[in-house]
């Protein structure tokens, strides 16, 4: 498989909440190493879309295909040929394998993504243990390395996230989601709820890690500045539908849809 094939290919994806569509007819392709921002106001279906992509919400219409190796029934990677597979054809075991080995999910609220009473080292080490690491020294060294990369002091490694500030928790969450070497990371408003200076540092960190590791990222945000800072392409959502998409700079500098123009012009100009 070469880089001509997208990592994730979404066609006509919809999710319904009862009679109402939370998100309707969304299509896009995501290539390896690409950062895609999904922006829009509250209630526009951004998080629904993300939940659907990560297989946390049911896909009611359309298809989501992901580039992965064909499962061979035992849940192990055969290791060779990768193919765009329709995620709805995979078993729960396969999907959970993807969660363990291929996908990260950074929640808006760190408490949703961390075990708050397990030490930071344990939190970062858990995905490794889930992937079969059974050597304490190696797990600890790897966790320590990742905590260092997200700028958590080593002497806080044995403290539980309950004792951490919001920014630190979020960085631990980022480390936990990158430690096992995922190819695709979903981020749901990772920086909201943090104060502006902490936001900037976290974004900077995410941006450098993403480019260093060549990750594909889908990041949901209501903050256009976040989209501008870290994403290559942007989807603008309103009322559950994508109303505009394109390169981030193009979308933000030359918005075509009326709503995007409104959104862009609503930013306070410094």
């Amino acid at each position: 498989m070469n880089d001509e094939t997208p990592l994730l290919s979404v066609t006509g994806a919809s999710h319904r909440y009862g009679e109402r569509y939370g998100c309707r007819d969304v299509s896009f392709d995501l290539w390896p190493g690409e950062v895609l921002a999904v922006v829009g106001e509250s209630g526009s279906g951004k998080s629904t879309l993300l939940g659907m992509l990560a297989q946390r919400l049911a896909l009611d219409e359309g298809s989501i295909r992901y580039r992965t190796a064909q499962p061979n029934g035992t849940g192990e990677k055969p290791g060779s040929a990768e193919d765009l597979l329709d995620l709805s054809t995979l078993s729960e075991r396969e999907i959970r394998r993807l969660w363990r080995t291929d996908w990260g999910f950074v929640h808006q609220n760190a408490a949703d993504g961390l075990r708050m009473h397990v030490s930071a080292g344990g939190n970062v080490g858990e995905p490794l243990m889930a992937n079969g690491w059974r050597h304490f020294g190696q797990i600890r060294a790897e966790a320590e390395e990742w905590l260092r990369r997200v700028e958590i002091p080593t002497d806080r490694m044995n403290d539980a996230p309950t004792l951490f500030s919001g920014g630190m928790r979020q960085r631990v969450q980022v480390a936990r989601n990158l430690v096992f070497g995922p190819r695709l990371v979903f981020m749901d408003e990772p920086t909201s709820g943090l104060d502006v200076s902490v936001q900037a540092r976290l974004l900077d960190l995410i941006r450098s890690l993403v480019s260093e590791l060549g990750l594909a990222v889908v990041i949901v945000t209501h903050d256009l500045a976040v989209a501008r800072l870290i994403s290559h392409r942007t989807l603008v959502m309103k009322d559950g539908a994508v109303i505009e998409s394109g390169l981030t700079d193009r979308v933000l500098d030359d918005p075509q849809a009326a709503y995007t123009q409104l959104l862009v012009s609503s930013i306070l100009q410094g």
């Binding site: 729960e92 075991r93 959970r96 363990r100 075990r115 397990v118 030490s119 080292g121 344990g122 080490g125 858990e126 995905p127 490794l128 243990m129 889930a130 992937n131 079969g132 059974r134 050597h135 304490f136 020294g137 797990i139 600890r140 490694m157 044995n158």
Partner: protein, 290 residues
Amino acid sequence: MSGPRIVYNEGYLDELTKRVVRRALLKGVAIPGFQVPFASREVPMPRGWGTGGVQVTASVIGPLDTLKVIDQGADDTTNAVSIRAFFEKVAGASSTTRTYEATIIQTRHRIPETPLAENQIVVYQVPIPEPLRFLEPRETETRRLHALEEYGLMYVKLYEDIARYGHIAKTYDYPVLVNNRYVMAPSPIPSFDNPKMHQSSALQLFGAGREKRIYAIPPYTDVESLGFDDFPFEPQRFEQPCEICESIEVYLDEVFIDDQGGVMFVCSDTDHCERTLTARDHDRITEVNA
């Protein structure tokens, strides 16, 4: 006193209930370490006092059986004595304190020191059957983790111990992997006893009455205590011998003997202690006579 005499069904539980429990037991034996849900009934003791164990025992016991009940190794505690008396009354079984005489051994928190034999059944009283409970409170999720064999979480607990104390500090209810498939809580027996479960000749049955779960380890099944490659499982060790019978390599209880804080360490297995003591005294008498 001439009140109407209540006649209980053999083994106290009615036949249908015993079938329910036996079915769960058979399933448990067929899938070693898997927690089988069952309709736990009321028995004349409070939940948490061994109701699971009592129901399992009631379903396997008959008049030909000899029952031994131990509570933390001791045959003479209130709970052990009354459960023994209960089954003498309702099942017509005989009872014993001798491990080698018993066909069924109901236990709380210990496995006898005397090696178990093929015709014996050990019934464990289990308070919390789910080894992942304190890490993942959702029952739906823990069942899924068992089904998909995702046991990374169990190691988080061990990781935390090593990170905090420098070694695995869990000394009882130490998680085990049964038959290379299911992670199982061995009930709160000391980790000292864990190796006795591995390839045991006896059938091991676990009953959790409050939690409504039954599980089992058939004879000669692999039971591996979890650990890391560089921090493997290590059972507790005792340096000194029992101060009564001088046995070594047995599990010892710390017993206060006065108001000044004086303690002595003695066998927790009272039967083993007594028999060792008797045998030793006998030997000494023979020596003197010779």
